[in-house]
Amino acid sequence: MDEALKTELGRQGIFVTTLEELYNWGRRSSLWPMQFGLACCAIEMIATTMARYDLARFGGEVFRPSPRQADLMIVSGTVTKKMAPAVVRLYNQMAEPRYVIAMGACAISGGPFKQGYNVLKGIDRYIPVDVCIPGCPPRPEALIHAFMTLQKKIDGQPLTGEGRPRHLDAGARGEFPVPVYGEHDLEPASNPGVWSAPKVKR
């Protein structure tokens, strides 16, 4: 529908919308994060939920302890290789639609501890990440900006057709294999369906 016509009708007190817009509005306005803090970024996440930078205004009111009740997993902090299977298993146990925000440098790519023997260099090696927040740690305002970016992304997801999100597509994969904490490294080292090593041109 034409935007000008919409605003004109709105001025007269008639509200016009589509099913897709309504569905996406409902989903983005009540994104429930999961209680999932790993390290220092978790402190900033907690600060974002408290009084000064209130995340509840954006719908992230209740941080659910159970993955079954959550829509959003904010991976905040360094993901060690010991913790990685638990992270992937929790992501699998979340009900669709589910989103991931990689908060901080460690969750994006290993961060300042990248050379550590037990540090997973980015959680996007195993699970699909929707929004990344650079920073060490990112300020609460940055987390709020990431939240709003995710909301914009959800707003743009169509209900039918090619670009529809994973949870509306019966054929799209829903299970991401959980790595095993092996003797020397995680097995497999990454999920090829989700992440591939960047090719270095020398």
Partner: protein, 151 residues
């Protein structure tokens, strides 16, 4: 306008059977004292069933179920869980059930009896006395077992 100008279109008259049924069901519709209650009951049932039906229709059309082994596994903070999540309650909790019966359920039944007491005969009083005595037996037993003391 085509098709007989000026003639008002009216629906064909309902059959005799339909008119009979309508009359039986709704002859004293508005004046019946329970009419509003029926309307509210139908609305309540619809209020429950409509969202369930809508959710089912939505799931069928747009959002298919996608279960898999890991998703349906028992939640244990990201660890692999051994065994079932259904555990048996300890049998020692039966004491709490008895105390609850005596103090809570009995008082709930005594309240309407107390309100309607003056209008009831002796037989009702005797029946209520039997009920109270049964529960007093439970109370006496719990007392003797020492459940009612702290510590």
């Amino acid at each position: 306008m085509a098709g007989g100008g000026g003639r008002i279109f009216s629906p064909p008259p309902p059959s005799k059977l339909v008119r009979c049924v309508w009359r039986i069901l709704f002859s004293k519709m508005a004046s019946n004292p329970y009419f509003s209650l029926t309307v509210l009951f139908v609305a309540a049932v619809a209020f429950v069933l409509a969202p369930l039906a809508l959710a089912r229709a939505w799931a069928k059309v747009f959002s298919p179920a996608k279960p898999n082994a890991v998703k349906n596994a028992i939640y244990e903070c990201g660890l692999v869980s051994k065994g079932d999540a259904w555990m048996q309650f300890h049998s020692g909790y039966y004491l709490y059930a008895i105390i609850f019966l005596v103090f809570d359920v009995e008082s709930v039944f005594l309240l309407p009896f107390a309100v309607a007491f003056s209008g009831l005969g002796a037989a009702a009083c005797a029946a209520m006395l039997v009920f109270v005595l049964l529960l007093v037996e439970g109370l006496a037993w719990a007392w003797a077992k020492g459940v009612l003391t702290w510590g």
